[in-house]
């Protein structure tokens, strides 16, 4: 089964761990593509587009810094590829990366694969989904609508300020974590427990990991007579 095989013939792999890249090479091969390992150090962020070639897909590991492969994260690299309509998958090992390191780029990441879930089927399905989105635009679950975002908690995670927010129109009971830097500088001073903002959110997302936020703005004051009484 090689769903994406017609449109993608080779896949470039960027992983900071040589063994992990080697394993991915075999998985890519099994999926029916020609694997190419892009060695470390990977090209600088502004040079990444030079890797783009016809009928070529990409697999980026999210954390590229531990093996001294790049100063950026895979999520940012996938977002750059997305902007240039190049199909790219992101692989992550640790769920905690999704909240902060990946969330800010999530709108430009059509497919995020857990390392455990990677196999030939997942790669083919992933590339097929990616190509579809690049061709037809995002599916319903990745389309944004204005939503009220309520701050539940402000804390710090590995030195970075993070917010736990509730998006009631997505799930009124589940808090989602995101970095404070996703809010425009001017709004940050207004952040406190219980403060509300409006943002464009893909409220059709199935899980909190898939949620992304854009265009944060001040929430208008509630009207005393909103017609709901």
């Amino acid at each position: 089964m090689t769903l994406a095989n017609g449109e993608i013939e080779r896949v470039k792999i960027i992983d900071d761990q040589p063994d992990a890249a080697e394993w991915l090479k075999y998985e890519v091969e099994e999926a029916g593509f020609e694997p190419i390992i892009v060695g470390c150090p990977a090209p600088a962020l502004d040079q990444l587009p030079s890797l783009i070639e016809p009928k070529t897909g990409f697999i980026f590991d999210h954390l590229l810094a531990p093996g001294n492969c790049a100063t950026y994260v895979g999520a940012e690299a996938v977002a750059i590829m997305y902007a240039r309509k190049a199909p790219a998958l992101l692989i992550t090992t640790y769920a905690m990366d999704v909240d902060v390191g990946i969330r800010r780029w999530r709108a430009s990441i059509p497919v995020l694969l857990d390392r455990d879930a990677v196999d030939q089927d997942a790669l083919n399905a992933g590339f097929a989904k990616c190509l579809r989105e690049l061709r037809e635009g995002p599916p319903t679950s990745r389309q944004t609508l204005p939503a009220i975002v309520r701050v539940e908690r402000v804390s710090s995670e590995t030195g970075e300020a993070v917010l736990d927010v509730i998006v009631s129109s997505w799930n009124p009971r589940k808090a989602v974590r995101l970095p404070l830097t996703m809010l425009p500088t001017a709004l940050r001073p207004s952040v406190r427990l219980g403060s509300r903002f409006v943002a464009d959110v893909n409220i059709g997302a199935e899980t909190g990991d898939e949620l992304f936020f854009d265009n944060f703005r001040e929430a208008p004051e509630p009207k005393p007579n909103d017609g709901l009484a």
Binding site: Y26, M96, R115, V154, S156, R173, S190
Partner: protein
């Protein structure tokens, strides 16, 4: 032939005026700032019937007034970015300079605006300019409406100054607007200095009330006073004093700015007065905490003064430009918030490095502004760091002094007993000896518990690190074995040959999978986001823990039977707490099954139900039951009947359940044959 030139439709006046600057107080403040530039010492703002339709606003100052030339070449030109002059005014002020768009917004607040000015430079002259905004409504372009500057002889004895009267006000000034305006005017000229050199006065009852609160000065009651400066070379100094004026901490240079280096902003001063608003702290003082709170509510926050005048909106309610509240939320200890402090950043900015935004919503965030903000935030950080260090030292000292305090108390007690009649002394001594023994036992238990917690915390973090690191290679082993298996299947046609390699590879894959599952346990339990307090869905936790521990359960051949209520049960707490309860009950059961095997089929039943306002969780197993220890003692820390047990699992269960406002009880032998634990937790109703 007339050269064509750019013209503006009259609509542009609305866009640049009331639409750009929607709050009238900002426009009025700009007129008052013009009065400051004109060397006025007073500026009176009067609202006449302004709470009714078609009211009037009058602004009168005693400045130097304007000549015809000043009106034509300055006041009537809107939007020109007037650079502040290096030349001081006659009173030694640095002109603040404005673009005039706030002025436009203010003048357009009514249908007619009239300016009457008496220039000091032309004694006995009066100039009058009238804007009839209806004329602009009917005109096509702005230039079509002439604005004559009428000059005439001034009435006798009129002193220099300017009066602006705006009539037929389009909106009413209600209490909220007047209060906002009063606060803006009172804070406009630095109230920290008690300077009377420029005094805007609003004639309105709300003003007196707010003025009384603003003018109240409680600076002497502050607990900490931070004073920081940055000079023209970007070098900074900072000093923190206590309530007695004694220097507590001071620093300069890189101890403030750190690795980011000196500041690239205009020279500035930052002062902050911090109040510890605990009732106890204020008890011995003449001023009540309520008064201070009320004062801080009006004037609190860090205000920004440029050339002696306040720049809106820094320090306004909800505009925490130094992100003090955010910093406090992230690390609350020893940090001030905008509700517990008042401060000012004063900058003269002779080089015009700070540029105000056109809509009067503060400065453009250029490098100079960002660096000024960095300086103030670094000064705050310096103070927080030093206070935290001092708090830590205080705690350490208290810890050191605690045994000494106990010995002293013991001496006092012995003396008190010795002073009693000899007959009653032995009984009292015996009673206190018994009390001492009980206290010592309890303390020994607590210390033992603390040591155990520390050890287990170390084990926990270490195993999480190990699990974290092991996950990637283990996944690779499993995946590579599967690839090898598939490739062999393609290349070895003989089934027997394939099987001889397939079977060991199956074992490799199964072992890697098991290892990966085991590695997931500490990582999942340590997940930071699970420690957030909120509503927790009991069933979600039960399902996750059961799935997480499945490899252990499978290995021990334990069958788990969930009997969960149909409705979702919500409790208040953190996912991690509820997870720890269930994980510990599972571990306890697994230990029981393996430590004392029985002939019964290994089963765990987790049932949930609702009883009144409680969610009830029953956890029963078919193991050996509670043996060799009384039911009451199973909760004690360090007590375990299993060789491999830490003796802390059930203590943790009890402590967490108590913290969550619930109760836990145990039954030695349940209908399944083993132990049963019944947990009751207050149930949270589903949100609407």
């Amino acid at each position: 032939m007339t050269q064509p030139h750019l013209r503006f439709a009259t609509d542009i006046l609305r866009r640049l005026g009331e639409e750009l600057i929607p709050h009238p107080d900002q426009g009025i403040v700009e007129l008052v700032r013009n009065a400051y530039d004109a060397d006025a010492t007073t500026c009176t703002i009067e609202l006449i019937n302004a709470d009714q339709p078609n009211g009037t606003l009058r602004i009168v100052d005693n400045g130097v007034g304007m000549t015809r030339g000043a009106i034509l070449n300055g006041w009537l030109i809107l939007g020109r970015s007037v650079k502040a002059s290096h030349k001081l005014t006659r009173l030694g002020r640095i002109p603040v300079g404005e673009k005039g768009l706030g002025r436009l917004a203010a003048l357009r607040m009514g249908t007619i605006a009239e300016l009457i000015t008496h220039p000091k430079a032309e004694r006995g002259r009066e100039y009058r300019v009238v804007f009839d905004w209806d004329q602009f409504e009917n005109a096509k372009v702005v230039e079509d409406v002439p604005i004559p500057v009428q000059g005439r002889k001034a009435p006798k004895k009129v002193k220099s100054g300017t009066t602006i009267e705006i009539t037929n006000l389009r909106s009413r000034f209600r209490r909220a607007e007047v209060t906002r305006l009063a606060r803006a005017l009172l804070l406009l000229s630095d109230p920290f200095e008690h300077s009377e050199s420029f005094k805007p006065i609003l004639i309105a009852p709300e003003f007196a009330d707010i003025e009384a609160r603003v003018r109240n000065s409680y600076f002497d009651e502050s607990d900490y006073h931070l004073k920081a400066q940055v000079d023209k070379n970007g070098q900074a100094t900072a000093v923190v004093k206590n309530n007695d004026g004694r220097t507590l901490y001071k620093a300069s240079g890189e101890k403030i700015y750190g690795d980011d280096g000196p500041y690239h902003c205009p020279p500035a001063e930052f002062e902050l007065w911090v109040f510890i608003l605990g009732g106890e702290r204020f008890a011995p003082r003449p001023v009540g905490v309520t008064e201070i709170r009320s004062w801080l509510r009006v004037v609190g926050g860090v205000h920004l003064y440029q050339r002696g005048l306040r720049v809106h909106p820094y320090g306004d309610p909800g505009h925490d430009w130094l992100e003090m509240n955010l910093a406090r939320t992230r690390s609350p200890e020893e940090r001030p918030s905008t509700n517990t402090s008042i401060g000012r950043v004063v900058v003269n900015d002779r080089e015009n490095e700070l540029v105000q935004k056109t809509d009067r919503s503060g400065f453009i965030e250029n490098d100079a502004y960002r660096e000024l903000k960095r300086f103030a935030q670094d000064a705050l950080e310096f103070m927080a760091r030093e206070r935290l260090r001092a708090a830590e030292a205080r705690r350490e000292q208290q810890k050191q002094e605690a045994p000494h305090d106990v010995s002293e108390a013991r001496v006092v007690l012995d003396e008190a007993i010795a002073s009693l009649p000899p007959a009653s002394q032995p009984a009292l001594r015996a009673a206190f000896a018994q009390f001492d023994a009980a206290t010592a036992k309890r303390q020994a238990l607590l210390e033992d518990e603390l040591r155990l917690y520390r050890t287990l915390a170390t084990v926990g973090t270490t195993s999480a690190v190990f699990a974290h690191e092991v996950r990637k290679p283990v996944t690779q082993i499993e995946k590579m074995a599967a690839i090898v298996q598939r490739r062999i299947a393609k290349r070895l046609p003989d089934a027997a040959d394939r099987e001889s390699i397939d079977k060991p590879l199956d074992l490799v894959i199964r072992s890697a999978k098991a290892l990966r599952s085991f590695a997931r346990v500490p990582i999942t339990l340590m997940q930071r986001n699970k420690r957030r307090t909120g509503h927790v869905t009991l069933h979600e936790v039960i399902n996750e823990v059961t799935e997480l521990l499945q490899p252990f359960l499978t290995e021990s051949q334990i069958d788990v039977k969930p009997e969960l209520a149909h409705e979702d049960l919500l409790v208040m707490g953190s996912f991690a707490e509820v997870q720890a309860v269930i994980a510990n009950l599972f571990t306890n059961a697994i230990n029981a099954f393996t430590a004392r095997p029985t002939d019964r089929q290994r089963q765990i039943r987790i049932a949930t139900s609702v009883a009144e306002r409680n969610a009830v969780l029953t956890f029963a197993d078919s193991g050996p039951g509670i043996q060799g220890i009384s039911i009451d003692d199973i909760w004690l820390p360090g007590y375990s009947t299993f060789e491999r047990g830490s003796g802390l699992g059930l203590t943790i269960v009890r402590d967490i359940i108590t913290d969550l406002g619930g109760a836990v009880s145990a039954v030695a032998t349940s209908d399944l044959g083993g132990a049963e634990f019944v947990i009751r937790l207050p149930r949270v109703e589903e949100p609407e």
